[in-house]
């Protein structure tokens, strides 16, 4: 049985990719942001994941409006980053885990998730930036990956509740995966921000902090928000919070907050980071009984 070690949820602002490339970690603007990540990496070093299952949203690198999937699941041997048009550097390709991908796909379709299955898939900054934050300065990525893209480009988006349930189904699929592998779940995007319209620059610190608080212990409370509710409270692109909900949904055990960080602003965005450990439910009881 696979072990779900926990979930990391983090913003994925493209400018971060630029700052990494320019090594601006100590720059006054960037320092408070990058300072959030060492504790996440320390936890990762102990958690030792073999595979990352990542919920992220494509921003018009891979998918266009001609064929826009609600949920696209990678089943490729390799995933490449590519030119996104405005100049962040590309990163090294990621090794896939097609066997795990197909296992997840079979389970999810059996649970009535209507996936688009991708044997070729480019991944954009929403996938690459968090990976670079978690594993800086590596020549080759030390994990295999299964990317899952959720549509937040073209409304109607899947509801926050649906995304949470998607995550739960992924969690069940991972628990049923008969291999001795350690899986990290990643959820990228948010927190509050709005790029477009007269309301551009909107940020909602109180809402973000409430979300970060509730996500750990009461995620169901957040699934009551509709897409429009989240856009109202967190801005148009704040809807990327559904990626956090999906990642949290995949944690099947008892969830403990290991680390959190929150900083305003990076680019136009409130940047958040949360590290949640997944502890087997009833582990203490089983030990006591043994």
């Amino acid at each position: 049985m696979a072990t779900i070690v926990g979930a990391i949820t983090t913003s994925h602002v493209p400018a971060i990719g630029g700052a990494i490339a320019k090594k601006l970690h100590q720059d006054p603007y960037w320092q408070p942001f990058f300072a959030g990540y060492p504790p996440a990496r320390e936890w990762l070093a102990k958690a030792r994941p073999d595979v990352v299952v990542a919920f992220y949203n494509d921003h018009g690198l891979q998918f266009f409006l001609d064929k826009m999937p609600t949920f696209a699941v990678g089943a490729a041997p390799e995933y490449r980053h590519a030119d996104e048009g405005w100049g962040i550097p590309t990163v090294a390709p990621f090794r896939g885990d097609p066997e795990l991908s197909w296992h997840v796909i079979e389970r999810l379709i059996a649970e009535e998730f209507d996936l688009t299955t991708c044997q070729e898939m480019l991944v954009d900054h929403a996938f690459t930036v968090p990976m670079s934050l978690l594993w800086p300065d590596v020549d080759a990525w030390p994990v295999r990956v299964v990317p899952i893209a959720i549509n937040t480009v073209q409304y109607p988006f899947p509801s926050p509740a649906r995304c949470f349930r998607l995550g739960q189904a992924v969690g069940r699929a991972l628990e049923a995966w008969d291999r001795d592998v350690r899986v990290l779940v990643l959820g990228t995007g948010g927190l509050s921000h709005q790029l477009d319209g007269e309301r551009a620059g909107f940020i909602n610190k109180a809402f973000d902090q409430m979300c970060m608080e509730k996500l750990v212990a009461e995620p169901e409370a957040l699934t009551r928000y509709s897409t429009v509710d989240i856009i109202r409270e967190a801005g148009v692109q704040g809807v990327e919070f559904v990626m956090w909900l999906a990642a949290r949904g995949a944690l099947t055990g008892t969830v403990a907050r290991v680390h959190a960080s929150y900083h305003i602003p990076i680019s136009n965005t409130a940047a958040g980071l949360l590290v949640m450990e997944n502890r087997p439910r009833g582990a203490a009881e089983s030990r006591a009984a043994a």
């Binding site: 400018a15 018009g60 030119d83 405005w86 319209g197």
Partner: protein, 117 residues
């Protein structure tokens, strides 16, 4: 020029729904093509010809000519694709934010910082 979407009632906000997706299809398709450096160069070399190739509406063509983000959105543009057009002119999302809110970039950045207090 401003889009009114009574169905959600959030001020200053256009949700990119089916109505916008239909209206903006040609514009967004052009912007999506700017993932390729070759296409960005072709646009810079002959903007009229490039826009014509994608069949932009007069409203879209005008908005592109003016580099006017609110007009681009009113013409059906989606900000993720528009960001690729903006990238050609080395404009980042804070430039777009400043233009849309009628602020200087410095004032827009200060407003962002302010919301963290």
């Amino acid at each position: 020029m401003k889009v009114t979407q009574a169905w959600h009632g959030i001020p200053g906000t256009t949700i990119f729904d089916g109505v916008q997706a239909r209206k903006g299809y040609a514009l967004n398709k052009m912007c999506y093509s700017f993932n390729s450096a070759e296409n960005r160069a072709a646009f810079l070399a002959d903007e009229d010809a490039y826009c014509a190739k994608f069949g932009l509406t007069p409203e879209q063509r005008e908005a592109v000519r003016e580099r006017n983000v609110l007009k681009l959105i009113a013409a059906g543009g989606n900000v993720y694709y528009l960001a690729k057009l903006a990238g050609i002119f080395h404009l980042d999302v804070q430039d777009l934010g400043a233009q849309q809110t009628g602020m200087t970039k410095e004032a827009f950045k200060a407003k962002l910082v302010e919301q963290g207090r």
